[in-house]
């Protein structure tokens, strides 16, 4: 900053404190909303403070950006909750794009007079920013089903990725080492181009079921890219906010990986879901199909019912129908709980948001570790469009592709009802032995209409 301005710095300090307090308030749903209003106030303070920055002389472009940005941002906040994953992926792309553009603009303005430290930070900023932009766009396209959700793989993929990665490192090093070189611009813009390409390559081999990890990772990159911007501009609030975002994404990606018993490398390079399960340990037998009326009687006379939602609930938009059935059962004195696996859905916490939207109080939403001990006392576990997260192979069959992944142990309940669209396999292409167990009944059809029919049948019982 050329002219130190204490007032400006004060607004940044206040903003930083409000961000931290806002995130801290997210530790409980009762305090979360107030905290987020604080964080938004912090952002407003930083925004208003910056408008009085001594270097700013022209407000035309600023006004254009603020108006256009708001008029895109506000509608983007109105999407239905089922579209949360792709919306979030898109906003990761925008966040990273902003950081990346700031980096490019800084280079255009200051050229090679920046010095090594600043250039190093700027290079990282642009690299992380650019690969997050394209990576997030691909993730959003997969989630919105503009693109096939299955992994896209080809021969020599790892080699191609390695080559792109090496190209990025080479350009970066050549550019930082000798900023005065005649080719400096070429190195820089090749770096930008390769980073965009790398983002695409990073996400295309990843299957839809692994999206929670990828989303978290992209979240982290977008944040780190903002933090690097802070290093370039020597601005602490950028470093703090970017680092908080970066670490949040980092922690989430580790949690998601743990919930699948896989490493980050395995998710990124494993191309999970491309391999059709061969090691299913000779699953076979017949699936027992049940009727709506049978299930309704079972549910109506149960003491405890646990609903286990998966991505299928989101695609069928069945959360409201699920809640209505749950309400009817509760009125009859049945204890109703909703069990949420950490990686159910397409982003961390996806199922919680959908059920909260359908008016399920948060005290009825149970985490995997809390609900598993209750399973033996559960009369009916209703699986709604979930597959891998309830696959007992993960626990019992060490050869399974998902061996070791923690699951919601619905097979320990007294009986299980699986709502499923058809008889096919799930996203990962794995057989699920749960479907063949004697306790399990299969109720085929669209999850939403099955739940509506069940609710009607329960009322008649």
């Amino acid at each position: 900053m050329t002219h130190p301005s204490y007032i400006l710095e004060a607004t940044y300090l206040i903003a930083s404190c409000l961000f931290v307090m806002g995130l801290k308030s997210l530790s409980h749903p009762d305090t979360a909303r107030r905290g987020m209003i604080m964080a938004a106030a912090g952002m407003l303070a930083a925004l208003l403070g910056t408008l009085f920055h001594p270097d700013i002389h022209n407000y035309l472009w600023i006004a254009v950006g603020l108006v256009v940005g708001s008029s895109i941002g506000i509608p983007m906040a109105m999407v239905p909750m089922t579209a949360m994953p792709q919306r979030t992926a898109l906003s990761h792309a925008f966040g990273a794009l902003a950081a990346s553009l700031v980096g490019i603009a800084e280079y255009v303005i200051h050229g090679n007079s920046m010095g090594g430290v600043k250039m190093g930070a700027l290079g990282l900023e642009v690299m992380l920013g650019s690969l997050t932009v394209t990576g997030s766009l691909i993730a959003a396209a997969k989630l919105q089903e503009f693109m096939r959700g299955t992994p896209i793989q080809f021969k020599g993929q790892h080699f191609v990725n390695l080559a792109i990665g090496l190209g990025m490192v080479t350009c970066f090093v050549l550019w930082v080492i000798d900023p005065g070189a005649a080719n400096a611009n070429i190195y820089f813009f090749t770096l930008v181009g390769l980073s965009f390409l790398f983002g695409v390559m990073l996400v295309i081999p990843i299957g839809a079921a692994d999206m929670p990890v990828v989303m978290s990772l992209l979240n982290s990159y977008a944040g780190l890219s903002s933090a690097a911007t802070g290093f370039v501009l020597g601005n602490n609030v950028l470093i703090i906010a970017g680092t908080l975002d970066g670490f949040s994404g980092f922690i989430l990606s580790i949690l998601m990986c743990k919930a699948m018993n896989r490493s980050i490398t395995n998710v990124l390079f494993g191309g999970f879901g491309a391999v059709v399960g061969t090691d299913t340990g000779g699953v076979g037998g017949t699936m027992r199909e049940v009727t709506v009326d049978d299930v309704a009687v079972q549910l109506a006379y149960a003491n405890q019912v646990v609903f286990v939602p998966g991505y299928g609930m989101a695609t069928a938009q069945a959360q409201h129908a699920c809640r209505e059935l749950g309400n009817l059962l509760e009125e009859r004195g049945v204890a109703v709980k909703y069990a949420i696996h950490p990686v159910a859905g397409r982003m961390p916490g996806h199922m919680n948001v959908l059920l909260a939207e359908a008016n399920v109080p948060y005290s009825s939403l149970w985490e995997m570790d809390q609900i598993n001990p209750e399973m033996p006392q559960t009369d009916v576990a209703v699986v709604i469009g979930a597959n891998d997260v309830v696959n007992p192979d993960a626990r019992d069959n060490p050869k399974s592709l998902i061996a070791g992944m923690p699951i919601i142990e619905v097979d320990k309940a007294k009986s299980v009802v699986v709502l499923k669209r058809g008889k096919g396999k799930g996203f990962s292409g794995l057989e699920n032995p749960l479907f063949f167990k004697s306790v399990t009944g299969m109720l085929y059809g669209d999850a939403k209409s099955s739940l509506v029919n069940l609710a009607q049948a329960v009322q008649k019982v």
Binding site: A15, F19, L23, K24, P29, A32, A39, A40, M43, H53, D55, I56, H57, N58, Y59, W61, I62, G65, L66, G73, A77, M84, R87, S91, H92, F94, G95, A98, V102, M114, G116, V117, A121, M215, L217, N219, F231, L233, V237, I239, G242, T243, L244, G246, S248, G249, F250, I251, L252, I254, M347, P348, G349, N352, V353, A356, N359, P361, Y362, E367
Partner: protein, 133 residues
């Protein structure tokens, strides 16, 4: 630790050190770089502590909230879009304007949707009271 590869904090530190060693005339004062590193390290620890306490229940709002907060690159964009330069004025202003736009999308959209989500997480008593109405 394979994570280091994907989270180039260590890489960043190494680069800063490398830049110093090369003895180049840096546009950044070394004291600024060092204090920036302190801020970064402390923010990292703080972030780890604060975010570890967020329950899985609120992981989606957490992601959209941190996303909105990282829209703070808005303030960098504002300065670029509003400053005057000797060279490349048009290009810099356009890049700045595009950056302000993208950051603003994140800020407005991110905070609004986070609030919309958090509004939905209600206590049992609140839900019952509402349904009676």
């Amino acid at each position: 630790m394979i994570h280091v590869l994907f989270h180039p904090t260590a890489l960043m530190a190494a680069l800063v050190a490398g830049g110093e060693a090369a003895g180049k005339t840096t546009a950044l004062d070394p004291a600024v770089v060092i204090s920036s590193l302190y801020v970064f390290a402390l923010a990292a620890f703080l972030g780890y502590q604060v975010i570890s306490r967020v329950p899985p229940l609120l992981h989606t709002p957490l992601m959209s909230a941190t996303n909105a907060i990282s829209g703070i690159s808005l303030i960098g964009s504002l300065v670029i879009a509003g400053s005057t330069y000797e060279h490349h004025q048009t290009l810099a202003s356009l890049l700045g304007c595009a950056a302000v736009t993208s950051a603003m999308i994140n800020v407005t959209g991110g905070f609004l949707i986070t609030d919309r989500m958090l509004k939905m997480f209600r206590k049992k008593e609140t839900v019952k009271a509402e349904e009676k109405k």
